[in-house]
Symmetry: C2
């Protein structure tokens, strides 16, 4: 991931409604949700929802597919993982003991955890 893509992804997440949408989809997993159900849960109109979903999709954070009369959206795991990785790249110049002294290591609840690559 490059800086430009990272800014796009962060901008996509940096909005109250979009962050709510994103977190709903994180919870929901690969099966995704229909646009209509997202709109209901987040409490916004269809137009606004469509606008925000487009931003998230354009940022590589969600993707969609048609499911009969509905359109389903789900999180783009790889895009999210790349973003988290980018944010922590070269932390303390590869000497984790420098920041590791202040916080505890622990297991992530999810494979979205940052990895070195």
């Amino acid at each position: 991931m490059d800086q430009r893509s990272a800014v796009t992804a962060l901008s996509a997440l940096a909005h109250d409604n979009r962050l709510s949408i994103f977190r709903q989809l994180v919870k929901c997993g690969p099966s995704g949700m229909t646009a209509g159900n997202i709109a209901r849960d987040v409490g916004i109109g269809a137009t606004a929802l469509s606008f925000h979903l487009k931003e998230l999709a354009n940022a590589g954070l969600v993707h969609s597919w048609r499911d009969g009369r509905y359109v389903r959206y789900s999180i783009e795991v790889e895009g999210m993982r790349e973003l988290l990785s980018f944010l922590t790249e070269d932390c303390c110049n590869g000497q984790p003991e420098l920041c590791g002294t202040t916080i505890k290591r622990a297991q992530s609840v999810c494979s979205l955890q940052v990895r070195d690559n």
Copy 2:
């Protein structure tokens, strides 16, 4: 971390210059950098730098202290960790195998990795 703080933090990172500043500080570790050196590395003026650092500080992502004639800035590790954790909270409703099948688990290069709490 609540939704409001997360949006503030993401908004702070969602800007080309601020993301550059942030990543410089991530690399640099706890010793931090002077404002002047950040400005030189990122290639922006003092006024703009001050504005952006204020945004990052307000978002809880960096902090600063005076060091003689200079002001040093460094990353706020806990704030960053909270943000990463918030973004992946309840991923796949606690069933990591759902998203874990598509990406490989691996160790983070840094203790900033997401943890379950």
